[in-house]
């Protein structure tokens, strides 16, 4: 096995372990730093096309290049003309042809590795102060690293997207001034907002097992002063999974709840959403 084959394997091994042990937000920065070390590059950075006007430097080493803004259009043109393949510059082109002149000042050789993932496309730039030959085994190593980097980038983007989405929806649902309880029909997952957790006397909001939620809701129902009326309505409600109810009154000792129970049915999820209002 050649040195470059070993380095490619090393890269795959180390990036396979990292995402299990460490936080996803540093996964890509770690991976780019690893590429820089393995290839003995003098500069390594990610350039992300954030919108039509913005290509932004991220995960840069040296770090002072971070947040640098470049015009995306000339760089995209270069990528198109090269068919989105890795570009190997054994010599840096003259300034007028060098679309990365801001970040490749005083370098002799560079590699531009397109990493196409949606929604934001990226590229990785590596640069060397001394001239490089980029021979056979090295090229194969870079192409292996490129494939793994695409996975790393996709995984990072997706996980960060899901985290942001979860944070946003949790914030919205916790702000709604009603107790919300969602029980998934899969029997394994459920969710409750802060108001709901307080109403049901649970330890906290967020993910809860349906069994725990059902138990807490049954206790609430059993404490109702109009328990017989509630049971009558419940028999009707649960006679079909498509049934729903609103303005269902649960009279408790110190308060009255207006309850809604709505089926939630999409391709990905099915369950019931309970809404408890205190009029």
């Amino acid at each position: 096995m050649s040195t470059w084959e070993r380095k490619a394997l090393n890269f795959i091994n180390q990036t396979s372990r990292w995402d299990k042990d460490k936080h996803i937000s540093s996964f890509l920065a770690f991976s780019i730093s690893l590429v820089k070390n393995l290839t003995a590059a003098d500069i390594a950075l990610q350039l992300e096309f954030e919108d039509e006007e913005t290509a932004k430097v991220k995960c840069a080493s040296p770090v002072h290049l971070n947040d640098l803004v470049l015009n995306p259009e000339p760089i995209k043109k270069l990528l198109y003309t090269q068919g989105f393949k890795t570009i190997y510059w054994r010599e840096i082109p003259p300034p007028k042809e060098n679309v990365l002149q801001e970040i490749l000042q005083a370098f002799s050789s560079a590699i531009i590795i397109p990493l196409n993932t949606m929604p934001n496309n990226s590229l990785l730039v590596l640069g060397w102060s001394s001239p490089q030959q980029f021979e056979g085994d090295f090229l194969e190593c870079i192409e292996t690293i490129r494939l793994r980097l695409k996975e790393v980038l996709l995984q990072s983007q997706q996980q960060l997207y899901f985290q942001r989405t979860a944070i946003r929806f949790a914030a919205i649902l916790h702000t709604i001034p009603y107790a919300l309880v969602f029980i998934n029909n899969d029997g394994f997952s459920g969710w409750v907002n802060q108001e709901g957790a307080t109403l049901l006397g649970l330890s906290g909001p967020g993910e809860q097992l349906p069994a725990i939620l059902s138990e807490a809701m049954m206790q609430l129902r059993n404490n109702a002063l109009n328990i017989d009326e509630i049971y009558k309505e419940a028999v009707q409600l649960f006679s079909s999974p498509e049934n729903s109810i609103s303005n269902w009154i649960w009279k408790l000792e110190h308060k009255t709840l207006k309850v809604s129970c709505l089926p939630v049915t999409t391709q990905q999820i099915s369950g019931r959403l309970w809404i408890f209002e205190q009029p």
Partner: protein
């Protein structure tokens, strides 16, 4: 996008001159802020005037929250303008935040800018207790500033304008600045203000390779005098000239002194 339109560029002065002056306005202003300075240089220099995207008569649809999330986007714009106009022998005069924009452009595009004139500029506005750096603002002050901007932007604009002009004998200065601030879309003004007040380019100062003139007013509420001393000590080839006027806008309140300082430097 057409850069001339994007930045509302005007080239005035002597079109055949070998030397170019490029004037860059600060936050809340536009290219007219230099109107008392320009006539003194029109005969001998080609003069480039432009509006920063998000302000003045720059193309509003060119404003990208991503591109202008930090002042780096403005540095790229300056390079775009110089390249589009094929300007040579450029002296960049940056007022307030645009001073640091010029610094970044000169570092990222070596040879593009030959001299820098920093007018009421700062590499960091926030104090840094760890390094004993005094920028003039602490975290609490900035939090209050942004709360005020987000709460009632137009009321904030009026108060902020009075604070930074510091010329009670010339209320028209504060009124004009408040009016200019009020014309900026509030969401853009808040984002740009955050990019400015949280910037930190102290590490860039020792890397500056071009001759630099620092012009500092006697009492600038946005940039304490100690900041200009800090810059002078760290920029390798810097000269500092105090101007005997108060406030953040010496180009309005002491144009003759600013002109003298510039001529002496040029």
């Amino acid at each position: 996008m057409d850069i001339i339109k994007r930045n509302n560029i005007h080239v005035v002065g002597n079109q055949d001159a070998l030397q170019t002056l490029m004037f860059a306005h600060g936050f809340g202003l536009d290219q007219h802020t230099f109107s008392k300075i320009i006539p003194a240089f029109e005969h001998d220099y080609k003069i480039i005037l432009f509006d920063n995207v998000g302000g003045g008569k720059a193309e509003l649809k060119a404003y990208s929250p991503k591109r202008y999330e930090t002042i780096s986007g403005y540095a790229t714009d300056v390079a775009d303008i110089i390249q589009a106009l094929e300007a040579k022998n450029v002296t960049f005069i940056g007022h307030s935040v645009s001073g640091m924009v010029g610094v970044l452009t000169s570092l990222l595009y070596p040879g593009m800018i030959e001299r820098l004139i920093l007018l009421g500029s700062s590499p960091r506005y926030l104090n840094d207790a760890k390094d004993g750096y005094i920028g003039g603002f602490d975290n609490q002050a900035l939090t209050s500033l942004f709360e005020a901007m987000e709460g009632n932007y137009h009321a904030w604009a009026s108060g902020f304008a009075k604070l930074v002009t510091r010329h009670e004998d010339k209320p028209e200065l504060a009124e004009a600045f408040a009016a200019a601030l009020s014309e900026i879309r509030p969401d853009i003004a808040i984002q740009v203000a955050k990019a400015i007040f949280y910037l930190d380019h102290r590490e860039a100062l020792p890397k500056i390779t071009v001759p630099t003139l620092i012009i500092q007013t006697a009492n600038d509420p946005a940039v304490p005098g100690i900041v200009s001393e800090y810059m002078e000590a760290r920029i390798p080839n810097a000269k500092r000239t105090p101007v005997q006027t108060h406030g953040h806008f010496p180009q309005h309140t002491a144009p003759e002194e600013v002109i003298d300082a510039m001529k002496s430097f040029l």
